[in-house]
Structure formats: structure tokens, C-alpha cells
Amino acid sequence: MTDEKSTVVSHEEIGSGYRRLVVEAPALAEAVTPGQFVHVRVPALEASALRRPFSVFDAEGGRITILYKEVGRGTAALGQVRPGDALNVMGPLGRGFPEKCDGAALLVGGGYGVAPLYFLAKRLVASGAAAGPVKLFAGGRTKADLLAIDRFEALGGVEVRLATNDGSAGVKGLVTDPLDDELISLRNAGSRFEIFACGPDPMLRAVAMRATGTGAKGWISMDRHMICGVGVCYACIQKTVRGNSRCCVEGPVFAAEDLVWD
């Protein structure tokens, strides 16, 4: 882990308040694995403002890419950084997804939750470390909330199923609808699978229930407000079978069977 003085390579609006940020950060790009996150100091904020955590969408050629949505003061201020700006990026941080999969790899993402899943899919496709097919289930309120679908398709061999609340893309409903169809057919075929999920809490809970219910392995990436990002402050707590666990160290990716939901 380092606190790397990185340089912004590019920073683009990709519609509906989503942005893609690419920074030059060789040590980070070399070390980071899918599901891990980086902790970013936002230059436009006051000196005492806390860092903001972001999971990594892609890491290649000494660069890392972050996909984020403007949801508050921090992400709004981050939107002001321009190519060439210096950016303090600390990482890689936290425990990511396993990079192998015993059976089909079912990737379930909601909104910008697909970010770490793309990085995972890319690695699984490249390594062939998934014993079965890699499938993406992406959900959002509308079509605009389905991100980087083309990038998933461009990986080759990643089957994509979409769901939107308004039916503007894929099936009308929740991402768990196409997921359930898949789970049924997999069970009928007696195929093994693992679930990898990132997104809003209600979606994660629903997915975790399905993983534990089917006895399959589920890997759930939790999103919590953080202070330190390195495990010293104990602010980003998730209840687990081991007690109060830190999302920044024991997580952000937890085994579904370990999670305790209030």
C-alpha cells in the first residue's frame, strides 16, 4: 500500500452524473486486484475534508480507472479535477474478490456497482480461472444507470443480462429477476456457480440471500462511508458472524454467509 502522488490522465462525463477518471499510478495499478479500492484526496475540498473511497474499474499499463457517480459534496468536488492535475491516491486497500471461480461466475451489479465487476470479469476472462462461463447481471433505475455494458461485451464470452425499473433496457424489474431465471436453470442443470455482487444494500442483501439459500459461494462488496480506509478508525463497520468488521480491511468484499443483516 502506498499513498501515490498520481497524475490525472483523463476525466470524462459519461452521462447522467456518471464520470470516468483515469490516473497514472504505476505502483497501484501493478498491485490492485478486483474488488479492492483506492482512497482519494479531493483537491477542491478544504484541507480538513476526508478522503473518498472508490473501487477500481480497471488497472492496466500503469493506470487505474475509476467509475463514479456524483452523489454528494465529495464527488461533486472531484468532478473539478482536470487532466494533468496531481491527485493523492492511496491503495490498494481492502480485501477484493477471489480471482478464481468454481463453476459459473455470476456477476451482479447495480448502478456503478458494476465498476469492480468489470475489473473482475476482465481478469477471469484473461486467466480462465472460472471453471464455468462468466455472466453479468446489471441493473439500474433506467438505461442510463447501466454502465460500461459495451466494455463487458468487448471482453468476449461474457454473457450480459440487463434489468431496469422502468424497462428502458433489458427486462422491466429488478436485477434479481434475470438472476433468478439463471439460478433456476443452473440448478436444473446441476451446474456449480459462485455469485459476485456490488451495488446498493437492498440488492446486495437480496443477492446474499440467494447465495446462502442455494448453498453457493457469494462474494458481496459492501459500500460504506469511510474515514481512514486502512483500518485504524473503525468507522466503516459491517456486522458479520465475527462481530463488527471493518469494510476497509475485512471487506469491502465479504463472503455472503459471513454477513449479518439488521
Binding site: S48, M90, R224, I227, V230, G231, A235, I237
Partner: protein, 304 residues
Amino acid sequence: MTDTKVNLGGLEMPTPVAAASGTFGYGFEYLGAVDYSKLGAVTAKGIRTEPWPGNAMPRHCEVPGGLVNAIGLQGTGVDHFLEYTVPWYRQQVAGVPLVANIWGASVEGYAEVAAKMGDSVDAIEMNVSCPNVKAGGHTFGQDPAVLGEVVAAVRKATRLPLLVKLAPNVPSIVPYVKACEDAGADALSLINTIPAMVIDIERRVPVLANVTGGLSGRGIHPAAVKLVYDAHRATKLPILAMGGVYGAKDAIEFLLAGATAVAVGTATFTNPGVIAEVYDGIVTYCERQGFASVRDLVGALKEG
């Protein structure tokens, strides 16, 4: 070449820049992001006899100038601390003294933790001023008589350098300082967080599950300087000063007000490099002002 060594009530610190309890975990988490060669001591996260789960979520809220937190001293108990944490710290971090921050729900609890520490750490800091736990913490720090009692009990239980971390929300710090002095403390830590509260006006609920919390960060620094100044004028006990140190200037103000060393806390979250920046800035200041040792800065105000 400025001499940066200081002695904090028997604790030999290679530099006057420590890491404050609760903001630096158990000392090794920031490896890779912090230059430990410029760190004078690590004050570990609060430890009691048994493991403690801390408060419910949410536990923090960012505010202008800092942070309001109510973590609630989540931590492993003293046994796990001694068996696993300390050896791991010693293996990972060489040459930086380790201070155990302790708390309890009773006078006996404080004494028991202190006794168990034996000489496996380099000093003990008593937290008698945490605003975020119901039993223990600040309840022992609010009344000078009660404070004297718990400090005396811990004093009997350990021969290690003993620091007492005091609360800022008092009319005068002097009676608390005297109580620590009389009870045999070796040094004082000033200040703990300022009791605070943030309300979510749209949901009309307190932001923190604990309802109230402690304010730390840049905004509290002038209040901390005043308390350090008052304490220094009332006692010969050395002072470890903390509260809003975001750069060398903040630290030097503390030293001139009478602190022997400073601790960096909330600023580390935003910038782990602040520890090195503070150290470098103090050394540069000493060279510029012609001080051979940082010890010469302590209380070196030119008054009236």
C-alpha cells in the same frame, strides 16, 4: 542538525511527533504511507480488559473543519493485544515507542489493564475523557476527586510512564491537572475531542447512532492551544498536545504554549504524510530560529 529527542515523563521519543490514539489503529496499518523514521511514538487504540464492540452505525460525520465521531472504543481486549498486536507491531515497526491507551468501566478495570501491560509497552495513556462510551471514559474525568482516585489506582498497578488524557470541556483545566499530579501521573495528554452533535434536518434524527459524539480536527486547535497553555502554567508535568494539528505551525504553537511533544490525529485521515510534514517543519523552524533542540521550544513564549 537539530536534536529532536524529547522525554515525555520517562517515555523517550526520537521525535516530538506522535500519532494520536484512535487515529492510528495499532500502529502498523499505515505502513507504506507514513515515514516512521519521523514518528516519535504510536499511541494505540483504546484497550480494556475485555474486547469491546463499540457503538452502532453510523459512527461519524464530516463537518466543516473536521469530524464528529462516536466510534465508542471498539477494540480487542488486553489479552489479544499483548499476545498478537504488540509482537506484530514490534516486528513491523522498529524504533518507534508504543503507548497503550487504556480505559475501563471501573477503577479496578483501569488498574487491571495497566497491570497486565507489564513492561510490554513503553508507556500507558489513560483515557478518562472519551465522550462516546456510557460507562467509563469521561465519567472518570469530569470530577477531579474521581480522576485522582482512578489515576492513583493505575499508578499503583504500573511502573511505566503514565500519561492521563484529559477532556477539554472544563471551566478550568487546573484542578484536573493538579489531581493527576498528586496521583502520580508522569505526563498529560491534551486534548480529547469536544462533545458535539450533528442533526440530519431532513430526516430529523441525530446523524450518529450514539446521538452525540466528539468533535476533532482543524477547528478545535485554538481551543486546544489555550488548554495546553493553561496546563503548562499550572504544572511541571510534560504535556503531549493534540487537537487540530494539520501542519508544523499548529504543532509549534503547541510546543511554544508548553507542550513537550505533539500528536497528530484527525489530519492523518486526510493526509498520512502530515506526520513527516510536521516533523520537517519543526526541524526547519528550529534551524531558522536558532534552536539546537526541539526541547528549547517548550514554553518558549516571549510574554509581556
